[in-house]
């Protein structure tokens, strides 16, 4: 095993319950995004583009799709003889063993994995953000500042600042205070949940945290404030670019829809910094003679006969004749049959909407208005159904 300078630990175990029906069957990082991608593609592609070859993916909740999607990591060129992608589920030891109990606890339980690679630095990532970032630059910053902990930070609008972990920095970008979701934020610099630690610092911090029985074992809640109290050298690396947390139905919907706007920040067309994905092998999409597609994204393997506007159509979707799709996101392999109308709806993977259904808000609504309808994966909406706007439609559970 060759010594690695930096090892990435990707936290992908969260349930993502705020994504409702979309995460009923799969972990949040495995949820489809922007047509052909899955949320984890962005973080894994960032690693590849930043020359970070060793990635531990910490999984826990419904890992089937995520595991099979990541595989050996070859889709992101991470199948590397030195390093590679390692799926790290919770495991049993001789006497101990438990589920991952918080983000810091998940990393703590895998300290042997990090020790095995013996890195200088550990990059802590989260699998539920959509962004494009060169971690190598952040690492350079970390080294330049002779920092022990570096937190990636992004400017957010003041009024939204109380949703994030907020950092206050001095003139040298050194962090003076850190407060998780403060009611009265005194800065507009938010933590992106991306950290670089010196491995020695992290190891010490994790051991201390594990001993503290009152701790929630969370990076943002416990580790960072605790390290600041100990007057460790903690710096903020300010990131300028596109970054979205897609943790809720609304933020997921808007982040998707943003990609339709011209001059979109997350430029997925940039050949210099490509976003890779493990896509299914599908033929080009076919646009029938009755079809109309405007201001939309359409992926491979689709067959479109209907009228699609302001929407994102993922791979393998079928849109029948006379179908109207507006302001909606159709996830992979959705089928929409003749005459159905869908507006402002997220239709889950493999869901099938039979003929002449009406789903979502009917009348013209401003796309920014809330009231997003969600249809769960694999759900079958029977012919002629009417589903009101803003409803979450779950599949009946068969036990």
């Amino acid at each position: 095993m060759r010594k690695q300078e930096c090892v990435a630990m990707l936290l992908a175990g969260g349930q993502g319950s705020r994504l409702g029906g979309l995460t009923r069957k799969r972990a949040k990082p495995a949820v489809s995004f922007c047509g052909k991608y899955r949320i984890i593609d962005f973080t894994l592609s960032n690693c590849t583009n930043s020359n970070i070859n060793t990635v531990g993916v910490l999984i826990q909740y419904k890992p089937l799709q995520l595991n099979s999607y990541i595989g050996l990591g070859s889709a992101w060129d991470l199948d590397n003889p030195y390093g590679g992608v390692h799926i790290l589920p919770p495991f049993l030891g001789e006497k101990e063993g438990s589920w991952y109990n918080g983000t810091a606890n998940a990393v703590y339980q895998n300290y042997e994995f990090i020790d095995f690679h013996d890195p200088e630095y550990v990059l802590i990532l989260s699998g539920d953000h959509v962004y494009r970032m060169d971690y190598a630059r952040m690492l350079n910053f970390h080294k330049e500042k002779n920092s022990e902990i570096t937190i990636a930070a992004i400017q957010v609008p003041r009024e939204e600042a109380s949703r994030f972990g907020i950092l206050t920095v001095d003139g040298d970008a050194r962090i003076t205070t850190f407060s998780e979701k403060p009611a009265q934020p005194d800065s507009d610099l938010a933590s992106m949940g991306v950290y670089i630690f010196n491995w020695s610092t992290l190891k010490q911090a994790l051991i201390e945290d594990a001993k503290d029985l009152g701790s929630q074992n969370d990076f943002g809640e416990n580790i960072i404030p605790h390290q600041l109290k100990q007057a460790k050298r903690v710096y903020a690396y300010e990131f300028h670019g596109y970054w979205r947390d897609v943790g809720t139905i609304e933020s997921y919907y808007h982040a998707n829809m943003e990609s339709l706007r011209e001059g979109h920040f997350l430029n997925i067309f940039d050949p210099q910094f490509r976003i890779f994905s493990n896509e299914d092998i599908l033929p080009p999409h076919f646009v029938g003679s009755t079809a109309k597609i405007e201001n939309s994204l359409v992926c491979n393997g689709c067959i479109v006969h209907g009228d699609v506007r302001n929407s994102i159509i993922a791979p393998g979707v079928y849109v029948g004749k006379g179908v109207k799709i507006r302001d909606s996101i159709l996830l992979p392999y959705v089928k929409v049959h003749t005459g159905s109308r869908i507006r402002k709806t997220i239709v889950g993977e493999n869901a099938e909407i039979m003929r002449h259904c009406i789903v979502g808000a009917e009348e013209q609504v401003i796309p920014d208005q809330e009231g997003i309808t969600v249809i769960e994966d694999n759900h079958n909406i029977s012919e002629g159904s009417v589903i009101e706007a803003g409803k979450n439609v779950y599949r009946p559970q068969i036990i």
């Binding site: 922007c34 047509g35 052909k36 070859s74 889709a75 339709l260 011209e262 997925i268 067309f269 490509r274 976003i275 890779f276 994905s277 896509e279 092998i281 599908l282 033929p283 080009p284 999409h285 076919f286 646009v287 029938g288 003679s289 009755t290 079809a291 109309k292 597609i293 405007e294 201001n295 939309s296 994204l297 359409v298 992926c299 491979n300 994102i312 159509i313």
Partner: protein, 373 residues
Amino acid sequence: MSNAIGIIYANSATDNLQGLALKRPIAAVPFGGRYRILDFALSSMVNSGIRTIGLVTPHHYRPLLDHLGAGKAWFLDRKDGGLFILPEAIHGFSENNHTFCVTDLYNNIEFLQKDFAENVIISSGDQIYNMNFKNALEFHNDKHADITLIYSETANSDKQTDGVFLEMGEGRRVTNILDKKSRERGLFLQSHFVNMLIIRRELLLNIVEKYSGIGCIDIIDIFNSNLQIFKIYGSLTCSSIGTIHTLKDYFDRSMELLDLEVRGRLWLGGDRIHTKFKDYPPTQYTSQAKVSNSLIASGCSIAGEVVNSIIFRGVILEQGCKIKNSIILPKCHIEENAQTDYAILDKSVKVNRENIFKGSSHNPLVVFKRTMV
């Protein structure tokens, strides 16, 4: 199914593709929105469980190897088996009538010697099909055949003037192999040999060694003169879409893809056609886009009008342009208000604004690679 290895003759070249095959073999000509012609033969073999495939490469092999790499997209980067490059014997002959030249195999005879497989499946690399060889191989084994020639039924025997036809007796034993000339004498047969065959590996080795001194001789001619000695059978397939030898073949076969029935046979079934990964983003339609009856690959940006056309990966169509009955190869850029009708634009062609390209259905216009007009 693992008791067979594959050989694909990817070295057929032609002058009849008007520049599309100028610097690439036919096998490397882009086809169907995101594929190259070779992908069809290669994927068919891979989907049939064959994991050792030899590729007879042509003189201009760069585009072919660029596409194939280590064969990862076809699951051929393996320890056991994999993709083998078999350089062709005679470089530089762009037009020869031999499909399966024995000398090409003789030069690479080790590929055949070192394997243990019972049978060899040989296919040309210039045709469009999606076929699982499982049935043909079962037939081959059931008949204890030396050679099985795969054929398709041509409904209209006048349509196919080229190629080789089979005359079969009882139990589909091949009694005669007829070429174009005998057809001109008025012998019409419907069993059209589709340049795919199964042969016992030991027999193939014997043939190659015995006939290697003669120069470039087609293996089919050898079969023809040994009809009594070899047990040759015919096996029917209906999965062949056609061979690409002329520009008209290319244009017509491409346009047939707009027909659901053809696409159903070719790529909507369970066996997928594999091709090099490009990881292009989804195709973007602007609010000015108008597309009908067309195949569109990924990574395109469409602001113009597209009718009855095939658009490959990474094409940019600006506002007001009109693409009709055309085939636009990867990374072309068509500026505002430019028009094409019955045109084939090779890779990376840039059409400046207001330009108009017009061909006809019998004679589509071809624009060379990297041209700026």
